[in-house]
């Protein structure tokens, strides 16, 4: 049973555009929702995270939007750059165990 569903599987965006990746979760006990960024051949690194008591969190060009009633959250990358090309994973956790989505491969073309 997949507890965190992520879409799309891949995304192509032109430089300067907005990249949007969506995730949905099932377990209402989850209380922490991070996004991780992974470059080829490397381990994932924490990008930004949110807790369900807020609906939005922004850090630079990266924004998480959170909809508790719909059990959905999304990552928005504003002014996407070629250096943002990577695989992005959403995740959800309760009690120290992170459950990851299946990942989105983002390609930003100049």
């Amino acid at each position: 049973q997949q507890q965190v569903k992520q879409s799309p599987q891949s995304l192509i965006v032109q430089k300067g555009g907005i990249s949007i990746i969506n995730c949905a979760y099932e377990n209402t006990a989850f209380d922490y929702f991070p996004w991780y960024q992974q470059f080829p051949g490397k381990g994932p690194a924490l990008l930004i995270a949110i807790r369900p008591d807020v609906s939005e969190k922004k850090e630079g060009r990266f924004t998480i939007s959170f909809n508790k009633s719909a059990k959905q959250f999304s990552l928005h990358i504003m002014d996407s750059q070629p250096g943002d090309s990577a695989t992005y994973f959403c995740a959800a956790s309760k009690a120290d165990k992170l459950i990851f989505g299946t990942g989105t491969r983002l390609q930003v073309f100049p």
Binding site: P34, G43, P44, L98, T102, G103
Partner: protein
């Protein structure tokens, strides 16, 4: 500062051979330790996690096992590798007081 070391970076093993991947964390005490597997085109699957020496929880039944012989050492093992064990294996740690997870650089395992 805390660092996590994982080795080897790449490994090619024949089917039926044993496996031992090692991970160590520096700069922190009593971390929570995790092994994840990332198969091609798939997400990160939690295999094992440990909250202390000798304490291992298995998330997925398989022919892999994990051990934590020391506070900051986590080992992933197999007695006989299968083709389906191929993948990118990631060790990770957290403080146990918050949910932030820090990953190692991974081991690309190819079973032929």
């Amino acid at each position: 500062s805390q660092t996590i070391h994982q080795w080897p970076a790449t490994l090619v093993q024949p089917v039926g051979s044993p496996l031992s991947l090692e991970c160590t964390v520096e700069g922190t005490s009593n971390p929570n330790l995790y092994w994840y597997r990332q198969a091609a085109g798939r997400g990160l699957q939690l295999l094992f996690y440990s909250v202390g020496i000798g304490q291992i929880s298995s998330e997925v039944p398989q022919n892999l096992s994990a051990s934590r012989p020391q506070d900051r050492q986590f080992i992933l093992s197999s007695k006989k590798l299968l083709l389906s064990d191929s993948g990118f294996y990631l060790c990770a740690w957290s403080t146990g007081t918050d949910e932030k997870l820090f990953f190692g650089s991974g081991t690309q395992l190819s079973v032929l």
